[in-house]
Subunit: 365 residues, 3 copies
């Protein structure tokens, strides 16, 4: 194996170190609203049964998996309300096992997600800024910020407490990021973009890029770039998928409200407004100036024209299309197809077409 | 706040500085074909009303917005031909305002776009190449080229006057880029790619990647990579969106003619030819060896099979599909659906299906 | 032209050098199962006719192109079984040409692909690791590994013989890569990902990112991130396109079997399993926990819901959709549309709809 050629860089880089959050199982139970049983143990991370080691928390949705959980190397198990714990849990396991904590709750899956959030919140990085990161002197980083290898932080950038800027991220001038955010790696953020708190951005995402706006010159048939000088405002608790692109507004702002979740390879055009807790699956595209109200759910590969309004609580099935300027309304109603219509209607039309096609063929056979 | 650990790098980096273009309002009026009225002022950038400051140019499409423009901190306003300027513009504003220039023209939106182009053309970077950029000694960069942090410029690359290579861009060996281009950030360009002048490439785009070509071996069922060793030739005044991918030709060339505008997350396959002033919206995919003639407009999420020909002036609606080898013809005709057909036909078919579905249901109710 | 400012870095960087593979035409003929005729020459690369130079191998699929091949500067030509070589090949060419080798075989296109693979396999890099790459001291790289500019190799990464890590690639902690792989540039690989041998990854791809999994809290309407802590296992001879994203499993693994080819901008969700020699064209999306069995062919922009099973040998036409939990079955059968159905059925339905639409219009005209 080849020795590393850059001991001076690596040494300093290596002095940066991540620590898992640590919490007792009883503290964690209290935070996630679970009832604690068994031994109080120290926890540092969540895991699957097979990958679990000391300090790990696993979860069980059905009592029938409890035996496997007990047999794992995990230190604690989230169990559903109706589970019976064996009097001596180690008796249920094939070999000697460490004592375990049990966290009983009504929604184990949600409890597992909340537990991971709690433990992640306690995780921290010692050492701060990698020696290879390039930080403009005018940038203001909270002392608890962690910046990884070869990140570039431009002039007048501001970053809040405990935010983690992964390797290769590029923050152009004036970007503002709140607390407890994670930019995993190689994220690019243009000027004029703000992220609030607890935002997670997966690798390769491009935030605040120029929107697609051109003005045709009738005399020449050529298109001239309309200035894309607006802002992108991203709320708290937002997650943005890998290689997703969100354009900033042309003159005003594109806005993504609190709690929005965007999958990979999603496109959000300029001046779009996305409401709270909207969920958008992969490869969906939203054209300029469209509005998605709170709690909308959008399937994969959906296409929304410009100036569309999807009203609160609508569910759009995968591969649906909404033509420009349309309004889609109906909380909890599932729409499907292009143009998107209530699924009952869509399915009836499919059935009608199939029936008529068979009928036509019948006499000929 | 944490002090920067790399004063020597940052210092040198900081000695690079961008300057806005500067022009008097009367010079600019002449360049964009507008009539100048009011005070001659110095201009440096375009802005929205709310973000405007001294040196800013704003625009008004309708006279009813003129009052707001006058009340802004902008130094100049583009106004439509039919606007009446108040005798004393400052009287129309709530407080003391700087004197303003008015640029009267028939198409304010186009004038605003042209003005931004003029001002951008005057912008320049002092200091050239960031200390952290890696430039191969065999690369030839014009002295006015600007290279940002951590860009990698490979052997035999050539870059023309005033081109700006943003942070984290990677230009593999032999790439040729003309004058006045902007690669915003983290753009990757493979060998065999040429860009002409005034090309803008948004972050994350991949230009000249290997096309998707494999030869099945009937004896084994395995696919073997067909060499992808052709070229990618991009004309002048092209814009390419964030995370868009354009493959180079397998043996010959993929070509993108002058004035083409590609949105984010577009895919262009190997050996495709795109004509002048073609506009393609987000998430559209164009398969290998297809041809789009001049002035074609392609909506979002369209899918074009291989060896398709879209003739000059065709408009393809969003989410449409064109099967392999098809020809679509009709300048100014809007096509829709899969397979793409004239929109009148498409809408009639939708209506027929809805009517037949209702009819069938009627007796049952 | 501006001199490079970093002689110390560039010098070391420049000491790394790529060498083409070199092989005699008779050796190569033997490897690819062709019959050798003419002069034995040394070969180093494949090329098109127009780009060919000494050492180049070109190919001819039809005898009618043989004259052009002979007239090129290539050193050798792959020809189909039924080609007649002129007694004096140079007589067929307009000017003095170097002596040529002829490699006769039944499938010239496949032979050309195999020849490129053979020559690439002999190519090597002298010098190893660029001075600007950041390698964690705990990473284990085989001495023949090549690492380009500004790549970041995290703790406990392992990389096998002759693998090439291109510029700007980021390998997070614990990534394992086999032998003879190529990561072209700016590839990001998350922890928990393994690549076997001869894998090619185009620029901008993101491997092993967090899947899109959230648990709604009914009490608040908010979504909480379900831990995405599983693995991504990629087999041998896989190719992954530019800006494609493949998520790792939530708790278990996403798996991509040997010989899979993914085009650009493809999305593969968490816990998906893709079988051997599956080919997936650009912009297709595969939702979580779906299974594609061996030898499936998937067209561009297809959308597969979650928990779908596409059985062995199915062919899905472009822009097709498969709803959640559906099974698609039929080796060699071409499916089309949404929901995907056999193409004969799909085309009949299209025809029915067109006929009924015309009929309705007829009386009105």
């Amino acid at each position: 194996m080849r020795p590393n050629k850059h001991p001076q860089l690596s040494l300093e880089r290596h002095s940066r170190k991540w620590y898992n959050g640590r919490m007792t199982s009883s503290q964690l139970a209290e935070r996630i609203g679970a009832t604690h049983q068994g031994t109080v143990v120290e926890l540092s991370h969540v895991a699957s049964f097979s990958a679990a080691s000391a300090g790990a928390l696993v979860f069980v949705e059905h009592p029938r998996f409890l035996h496997d959980a007990i047999a794992s190397a995990a230190s604690a198990v989230i169990i559903p309300a109706n589970s019976e714990i064996p009097a001596d849990p180690s008796a249920a396991a094939p070999s000697a096992l460490p004592p375990k904590a049990f966290l009983r709750c009504s929604n184990p899956r949600l409890a597992f997600a909340l537990a991971a959030e709690e433990l992640n919140r306690q995780a921290f990085c010692e050492g701060g800024i990698d020696a290879s990161a390039l930080i403009d002197p005018s940038a203001e980083l909270h002392p608890t910020v962690c910046v990884d290898e070869l990140a570039v932080i431009g002039p007048d950038v501001r970053i809040g407490p405990r935010t983690h800027i992964g390797p290769g991220c590029i923050l152009l001038s004036g970007v503002v990021i709140g607390s407890d955010c994670t930019l995993v790696a190689r994220v690019t953020i243009y000027s004029g973009t703000t992220l609030a708190d607890r935002v997670i951005v997966q690798a390769g995402a491009v935030l605040g890029g120029d929107g697609f706006g051109f003005v045709p010159d009738p005399a020449t048939g050529r298109y001239h770039k309309f200035p894309q000088i607006g802002r992108l405002e991203i709320g708290s608790d937002v997650e943005i998928g890998a290689n997703t692109t969100i354009d900033r507004g042309a003159l005003d702002a594109t806005t993504i409200a609190d709690g929005v979740k965007l999958d990979n390879l999603v496109q959000v055009g300029h001046n779009v407004h996305i409401g709270r807790n909207v969920v958008i699956a992969s490869q969906t595209g939203i054209s300029g100036s469209s509005i998605l109200e709170d709690n909308v759910i959008v399937g994969g590969q959906d296409g929304l024209g410009d100036h569309v309004r999807i009203e609160s609580g609508v569910i759009l099935g995968a591969q649906s299309g909404v033509p420009s300027k349309k309004v889609v309304r109906g909380s909890g109603v599932l729409f499907w197809g292009t143009p998107a219509r209530p699924i009952a209607e869509y399915l009836k039309e499919l059935a009608t077409l199939a029936r008529l096609t068979r009928k036509k063929r019948a006499p000929a056979s």
